[in-house]
C-alpha cells in the first residue's frame, strides 16, 4: 500500500506544514552531525594522525586479507547452509513422520540458542572431544548449523505459501512427493524467497564477525588489531563498519536487481513476501493468502 492513499494531495496549508517539517527535520539531522563533529574534533579524533593508517599499504593489505577471509567463510558456510537448509525443508514437509520430526527438532534446537554460544562451545568443547580442526572450519561449522536451520524455515515458508493448486496439479499428473518438490514446488518457492534468502545471507556475513573469539582472522578481528596497533580504535572500527556496509549494501542491491529481472508477468510476488525481507523474521507465517 503506497503511503499516498493515506492522505490527499497536499493543499497549500499542508504544503506549508510539510515545508516546516522538512526544515525541522533537516535542522535536527544537521544539529546531530554538528554535535558529532564538534565532539570528535574537540577530542582530537578527527586529527590527521588518527586517520593516516587508512593510507598505509601494509595495513590496507592486512585489512583486505581480513575481508577476504570474511568472504571466504561466508561463501563456504553460505553454500553449505543453503544445501542443508533446502534438504531440511523438504524433510519437514515429507510424508514420513520420522523425517518431519527429526528436521523440526534440528531446526528448533539451533534457532533457540545464540550463535556466539555455539561458537564458544565449538572452539572450546570440540578440541577436548578430540576433534581439532582449523579455526576456519570451526567457524564454518558454527555458522552452518545455525543458518541451515534459518534457511530451512525460509524454504519451508516459501513452499507453504504456494497455491495448493500447484501441489494438486502435480499429484493429478501422477508425480510423487520428491518429484513434486524438485520439479514443481521448490523452483517456485526459491524464486519467491530470493529477498529473504539474500537478507539471511547478509546476516550470515555479519555473523562471521563472531569468529573473532576463536580467533579467526576475519575483518572485524583485523580491524581490532589495526585499531590497537595504530592507536586509532574509534577510526578502525568506523572503517570496518563502512566496509561491512559497502559489502552488504551491494549484496542487497544485487538481490533487488535479480528479483526485478526474474519478476515476469504472471509470477507476481504477493505483498506478504515483503515481510520476509526482514532477515530476522523466521517462522513468520507468510501462508495467509494474498487478499
Amino acid at each position: 500500500m503506497s503511503a499516498t492513499v493515506l492522505y490527499d494531495e497536499p493543499g497549500p496549508r499542508a504544503r506549508v506544514w510539510i515545508a516546516v517539517g522538512t526544515v525541522v527535520g533537516l535542522g535536527l539531522v544537521g544539529l546531530l552531525i554538528a554535535v558529532a563533529v564538534v565532539r570528535l574534533s574537540s577530542h582530537h579524533q578527527l586529527d590527521r594522525a588518527h586517520w593516516t593508517f587508512v593510507t598505509d599499504p601494509t595495513i590496507l593489505r592486512f585489512l583486505a586479507f581480513g575481508l577476504l577471509n570474511t568472504l571466504k567463510v561466508a561463501a563456504v558456510a553460505g553454500a553449505l547452509s543453503l544445501t542443508i537448509g533446502c534438504l531440511l525443508a523438504v524433510c519437514r514437509l515429507a510424508p514420513a513422520a520420522v523425517l518431519r520430526v527429526a528436521a523440526a527438532t534440528y531446526t528448533h534446537f539451533w534457532l533457540s540458542i545464540p550463535v556466539l554460544l555455539l561458537i564458544y562451545f565449538i572452539g572450546l568443547g570440540l578440541p577436548t572431544m578430540g576433534l581439532d580442526l582449523p579455526v576456519f572450519w570451526f567457524l564454518v561449522l558454527g555458522l552452518t548449523l545455525y543458518n541451515s536451520a534459518v534457511f530451512a524455515e525460509i524454504f519451508r515458508t516459501g513452499v507453504v505459501s504456494l497455491h495448493s493448486g500447484q501441489r494438486e496439479a502435480a499429484a493429478a499428473l501422477g508425480l510423487g512427493f520428491w518429484q513434486t518438490m524438485r520439479l514443481v514446488l521448490l523452483p517456485q518457492a526459491i524464486r519467491r524467497m530470493v529477498p529473504s534468502l539474500v537478507s539471511q545471507y547478509v546476516v550470515l556475513l555479519k555473523d562471521s564477525s563472531l569468529g573473532f573469539v576463536l580467533p579467526y582472522p576475519e575483518l572485524f578481528r583485523r580491524g581490532q588489531t589495526t585499531g590497537q596497533y595504530a592507536q586509532s580504535v574509534l577510526q578502525a572500527y568506523v572503517v570496518v563498519a563502512v566496509v561491512y556496509i559497502a559489502v552488504n549494501a551491494s549484496l542487497s542491491y544485487l538481490a533487488r536487481r535479480l528479483e526485478a529481472r526474474q519478476r515476469r508477468p504472471g509470477a507476481r510476488v504477493p505483498a506478504e513476501a515483503s515481510i520476509a525481507l526482514n532477515p530476522l523474521v523466521v517462522g513468520a507465517n507468510l501462508s495467509t493468502p494474498a487478499a
Binding site: L6, P114, L124, T128, F212, G223, A249
Partner: protein, 214 residues
C-alpha cells in the same frame, strides 16, 4: 555434570542479567522502531531519508562492530556509559531498525482497498491510520515482533565479549575456573531454550488469537 549442579546460582544470575538486558533493549527497540517507521512513511523527505539511512546503516553492520565502537571507540570522545547500559543502547538501537522495518511492512501488508475505503468514507489521515490501517497492521506484525524478541534474547550474548556478565559470559567464566565445556555450554544452551522456546509458543498463541480472517 557436577560443575553445572554446583553452580546453578551462577547460571541463575547470568540468566537474570540476560533477561534484564532483553527487556530493556526491547523496550528501547520498540520506541526507536515506532519513531523510525513513522519517519519512513512521513511526507517530509528529509525525515524519510534519515529513517532510511538509519535502517540501512544499522542493518548492514555486524552488531558486534557497533558494540565495540560504542564501548571502546566512543569513550575517546568523552562519551562513556556503564557496560550494561552500553549493551542496552546498542542492542536496542540495532533491534530498533528491524522493528521499524517490521512495522513498515506491516502497514504495507494491509490491502490498499482498506485505506481507500476509509478515505472515501471521509476519514482523515490520522483516523484512517488509527481505526482502519494500524489495527490490522499490528496483527500482521505480531509474528515478526515475536521473532525479533527471540532473536534479541539470543543477541544479548554479544554483550559477553565486552564484559557484561550475562549467561554466555558466566558460562565462559565457569569454564576457565573448572574446564568442562560440554556440560557447561549444554547447560547454558538449555537456559536459553527455557526462554526462547516458550516465547515462540506464546507468539504463535497470540498470533492465532488476534488473527483476522481475510
Amino acid at each position: 555434570m557436577n560443575v553445572v549442579l554446583d553452580n546453578l546460582d551462577v547460571f541463575g544470575s547470568g540468566l537474570w542479567t540476560t533477561l534484564k538486558l532483553t527487556a530493556l533493549s526491547f523496550l528501547l527497540a520498540l520506541g526507536i522502531g515506532v519513531v523510525v517507521a513513522t519517519a519512513r512513511v512521513s511526507p517530509a523527505a528529509p525525515l524519510r531519508a534519515a529513517g532510511l539511512a538509519y535502517v540501512e546503516t544499522v542493518r548492514n553492520t555486524p552488531p558486534l562492530v557497533l558494540l565495540f565502537l560504542f564501548v571502546y571507540g566512543l569513550p575517546k570522545t568523552g562519551v562513556k556509559y556503564s557496560l550494561f547500559i552500553s549493551a542496552v543502547l546498542v542492542l536496542g538501537g540495532y533491534t530498533g531498525a528491524f522493528v521499524a522495518e517490521a512495522l513498515r511492512s506491516g502497514i504495507s501488508a494491509v490491502p490498499i482497498g482498506q485505506a481507500e475505503a476509509a478515505r472515501s468514507l471521509g476519514l482523515t489521515f490520522t483516523k484512517t491510520l488509527r481505526y482502519v490501517v494500524l489495527p490490522q497492521a499490528f496483527r500482521t506484525v505480531i509474528p515478526p515482533l515475536g521473532a525479533l524478541l527471540s532473536a534479541l534474547v539470543r543477541n544479548t550474548s554479544l554483550a559477553a565479549p565486552i564484559g557484561v556478565l550475562e549467561l554466555t559470559a558466566r558460562a565462559g567464566q565457569l569454564n576457565t575456573t573448572d574446564p568442562n565445556p560440554v556440560w557447561i555450554y549444554l547447560a547454558a544452551a538449555a537456559a536459553y531454550m527455557v526462554v526462547t522456546l516458550p516465547l515462540g509458543a506464546v507468539t504463535r498463541l497470540v498470533e492465532r488469537r488476534v488473527a483476522v480472517a481475510r
